[in-house]
């Protein structure tokens, strides 16, 4: 079976730290940062980047549409 590696890019300035993306990730990749953005929100980030498969689940549930997803197929 082909394996995928993915990565997300969060627009941290527009993330509202709502946390809705966290349980949507099947691979427990996402955490909320200790730091805050200029609005005071604990923005999301890849706490566990190696586990990201690029499935895009997080990005499709993000109410603010601030997650962009990339994915590559690994040669096996």
């Amino acid at each position: 079976m082909a394996k995928f590696r993915g990565a997300i890019v969060v627009d941290t300035e527009h993330c509202k730290g709502c946390g809705v993306c966290v349980p949507a990730c099947p691979s427990q990749v996402i955490g909320l940062a200790e730091e805050v953005n200029s609005k005071g929100y604990h923005y999301s980030f890849m706490a566990n980047p190696e586990a990201c498969t690029g499935c895009a689940n997080c990005s499709i549930v993000c109410p603010d549409g601030v997650i962009t997803v990339y994915k590559v197929k690994l040669e096996v």
């Binding site: 590696r5 993915g6 990565a7 890019v9 527009h14 509202k16 730290g17 709502c18 946390g19 809705v20 966290v22 349980p23 949507a24 929100y41 980047p49 690029g54 895009a56 689940n57 990005s59 499709i60 549930v61 993000c62 109410p63 603010d64 549409g65 601030v66 997650i67 962009t68 997803v69 990339y70 994915k71 590559v72 690994l74």
Partner: protein, 259 residues
């Protein structure tokens, strides 16, 4: 593998559609309105109908929907979006016309406009965001508020004996012959989002084929009005809203779905 090797334009699998403007959404963190807007715009984008789509924004938290959706839009007085959409569609029968309305807008002040547009079988699409509350004005009880649910105007919970039963307006309008497609969805999980998007595609298809009115209810959270954190509000919604507002198709191809 280095992250930098993954984050390259050729590896892009998802980004926000260009039909959502770059204006930061005015919604509370975690509110489903944003997700619903984006899905609607993704469908318009993927169908390639941006030049032929006209939306009508409501009064409610999504009153500024025209600042966020990059299609032609018109505002309407509270609850009157289906009447305004009727006028637009009758002038331009080949345009795709949708309304986007909350439960206070659609099922309280706009009940008459909703029922009659549906009964006339106007060839439009209604997107109905049911969060069981008046979000914008500070969380007052709506006709859709669940029995026992606390709001600022039912602080001890909705008492059915005094305040009446919640209104399943979606089931009501499904009875009307002019209504072709009625379905109820949610936007809080990846699975729910995918289903809702399919339903919106179908609704626009119905409109293209001029088969009658299509009506999509999206049961959504109002974490601020419900006084919960966003993720907790989504769990509360699954446990409390979904048993009453059951998800799934209610009417397909003009036929009521028998469960």
């Amino acid at each position: 593998m280095d992250i930098k090797e993954i984050i390259k334009p050729e590896n892009l699998v998802y980004k926000k559609t260009g039909l959502m403007t770059d204006n930061p959404l005015s919604y509370c963190p975690g509110c489903g309105h944003g997700t619903a807007h984006r899905l609607l715009m993704e469908v318009v984008d993927e169908l390639g109908i941006v030049e032929d789509t006209i939306g009508v924004a409501p009064v409610g938290c999504s009153v500024l929907a025209y600042d966020f959706m990059n299609v032609d839009m018109q505002g309407a007085a509270h609850g009157r979006a289906p009447a305004v959409a009727t006028g637009i569609k009758r002038c331009w029968p080949d345009k795709y016309v949708f309304t986007y309305q909350g439960d206070g807008d659609l099922a309280a002040i706009g009940t008459a406009e909703t029922i009659h547009a549906c009964n006339r079988g106007e060839n439009i699409t209604i997107i109905f965001i049911n969060n069981g509350i008046y979000g914008m004005t500070g969380g007052q009880m709506a006709p859709t508020t669940l029995p026992g649910m606390r709001t600022t105007t039912s602080p001890y919970g909705r008492e059915v004996e005094m305040m009446g039963n919640p209104l399943k307006i979606t089931e009501l309008i499904a009875q009307l012959p002019g209504v072709h497609y009625v379905t109820r969805h949610a936007v809080h999980t990846p699975r729910a989002v995918r289903k809702t998007k399919k339903a919106i595609f179908k609704a626009f298809e119905v409109q293209k084929e001029k088969k009658g009115l299509s009506f999509i209810e999206i049961v959504s959270n109002c974490n601020s009005g419900w006084k919960m954190e966003p993720v907790a509000s989504n769990i509360w919604m699954e446990d409390n809203m979904f048993p009453f507002y059951e998800l799934g198709d209610i009417k397909i191809d003009g036929q009521l779905v028998t469960k």
